[in-house]
Symmetry: C2
Subunit: 402 residues, 2 copies
Amino acid sequence: MLVVQKFGGTSVGGLDRIENVANIVKKYKENGEDVVVIVSAMAGETNKLLEYAAHFTKTPPQREVDLLVSSGERVTSALLSIALQSKGIDAIALTGRQAGIVTTSDHMKARIMDINPEKMQKQLEKGKVVIVAGFQGINENGDVTTLGRGGSDLTAVAIAGALKADKCEIYTDVDGIYTTDPRIEPNAKKIDMISYDEMLELASLGAKVMQSRSVELAKKLNVDIEVKSSFEPFKKGTLITKENEFMEKVLVSGIALDKNQARVSIFGVEDRPGISAEIFGKLADENINVDMIVQNVGKDNKASLTFTVPATELEMTKKVLKEYENSSEAIEYDSDIAKVSIVGVGMKSHSGVAAEAFETLAKENINILMISTSEIKISMVIAEKYGELAVRALHTAYELDK
Amino acid sequence: MLVVQKFGGTSVGGLDRIENVANIVKKYKENGEDVVVIVSAMAGETNKLLEYAAHFTKTPPQREVDLLVSSGERVTSALLSIALQSKGIDAIALTGRQAGIVTTSDHMKARIMDINPEKMQKQLEKGKVVIVAGFQGINENGDVTTLGRGGSDLTAVAIAGALKADKCEIYTDVDGIYTTDPRIEPNAKKIDMISYDEMLELASLGAKVMQSRSVELAKKLNVDIEVKSSFEPFKKGTLITKENEFMEKVLVSGIALDKNQARVSIFGVEDRPGISAEIFGKLADENINVDMIVQNVGKDNKASLTFTVPATELEMTKKVLKEYENSSEAIEYDSDIAKVSIVGVGMKSHSGVAAEAFETLAKENINILMISTSEIKISMVIAEKYGELAVRALHTAYELDK
């Protein structure tokens, strides 16, 4: 068995925590498993380095920022290797370059192009635990690059794929993926198994445990991910894997709440071909991520266009839409909204899931402002103040606490 | 003009100090010079990382220690590049590997084998300031190595040699090499120019500004070094260069005091061939650095052997000599000694320098316990308590305060 284990910033946030990780790895190794460990920087280190850079300029050159922040993971990898070797476990720490990780040149948000796993394989054959500094690689020029948010998870999944590992374990400060946020619904249950697609919908909806890009890569490479807690390392976590029969029996897997969206409505805009493409094209030019879109055409051939954007991008959205103020009847902005989403592969083969959701919210007198559905997801925009209530009502309605 | 500038830990010890370095480099660049900058880790960083490692074991694996501590210089190099670019000076930070520094595999004390300067040259041709993380390189396997104490100075000298730079400036917290330690003799004067050999004698005698290995390399590569202060960067420092006519006119360049030695005397040891070789061979096996050696043979064919060792190695020396306790009349140890040394290339062509030294100490009623001389150096061992007095008296006698 070859297992890839990734430990995030909190899990390696101090020397005692690194010692804890060494004990976990040691246990696996002593059970006869081959282990590759991916580590993040110690919690706070990356931000500290970024603050150093910010002392000089608000827009530090990205190539140098990558050289700067990549040192954090190198430190953790060396320390973990030292900790393991002091416990009698043979280990070797590798940088992203030494682990053979070749990326694009897009500094601070590079994509992994290729992994040359020979060095890792050679060390595994020698019986060593291989420790890899996450989040980083080199480009074709030999410059250090970093992979952006969730980069260490991505390193772990990519290496698990390249080494054809049996499993990729992501250790974090929670013990798995929950049916909804336990801070909102104390009866939220840990999910044993979830499909890549469900996880993708949940991740993009604000379940912050796994970044979408890592789940997407895991799906592409067919890597099984287990999300576990580094505080309870021998407790079963949540397995993210390909869709199977067992999952389809479960109607709804989880409910997500996203309160960081804003709603934009353009009323009475002229309904000519290409008007939507024009507006959304201009928003895309400013890197504004438009999410839900609803369009209606009225009797007078004038269209109403409603969509959501991240609340942080609302100001930029207002700027872009300024030129449509005269050619439309009204433009309204509302940032006091919440998006509640129901996710589950079981929906595909069951009807009535959406109807039950609408009914549940109606019973609570919650007005639905927008609806959008996909094969495995139903999203509803409601007033922000009802967000938590809606989550709890739906959680009960779909019997997720059972 | 191509100048290589090295800034040590104190000179880059904080963000404001790094900003100061950026301003120095900017000034040189704006004066039309090509500049390569070598940086150390921020003061305290390397020790902090070593303490992290010591949390796990007293004997951390050296390969991992190198990966760990090398991150310090990388951080400084990236920050300085960011600082320079924020001031409108085009710059690029390179790691030891990227700068083409190939070393032996002796981790924590690697030697530079080769420098491939192509990448540096290419960036210089583009008009960029090239910043190199000091103290580090990679071995033939691509593993990170570090160069040991004074490693960043060594990087600077080696790069200055490889690039055929016009000068190598070593910025530190003092403004040059002094005729003696100004804390002992307030009238000590800064030396304008000193030969490699004189500097080597002074360095090995406790003048801590430059490590001997860097001066040796500078001599071998014929690199001119200027030792300067990063607090007064535009003030002339001390030039370390090859011996020239001007220097030979100066009788004595400097006086050094070393109080970290201990004296060992073996009386009445049998004077058979090879006895010295045997004793010093056994000391060498334990890595004990024997410095001054004096041997006398008396009438009864029994020899007296006196030598000095670093005070920190005295205990080990006692262990090694235990077996000679019976075959000699007595073994005495004295750690309350000081070694005072007079250095100057002018001695070669002048007689009477030694006589004047002996006379000066006699006038002060200081008894000389041992004497050893080389072409450009006279060393005398005296009682420790007279160390500072001897330095001041000799400083005056050779008119070094003039």
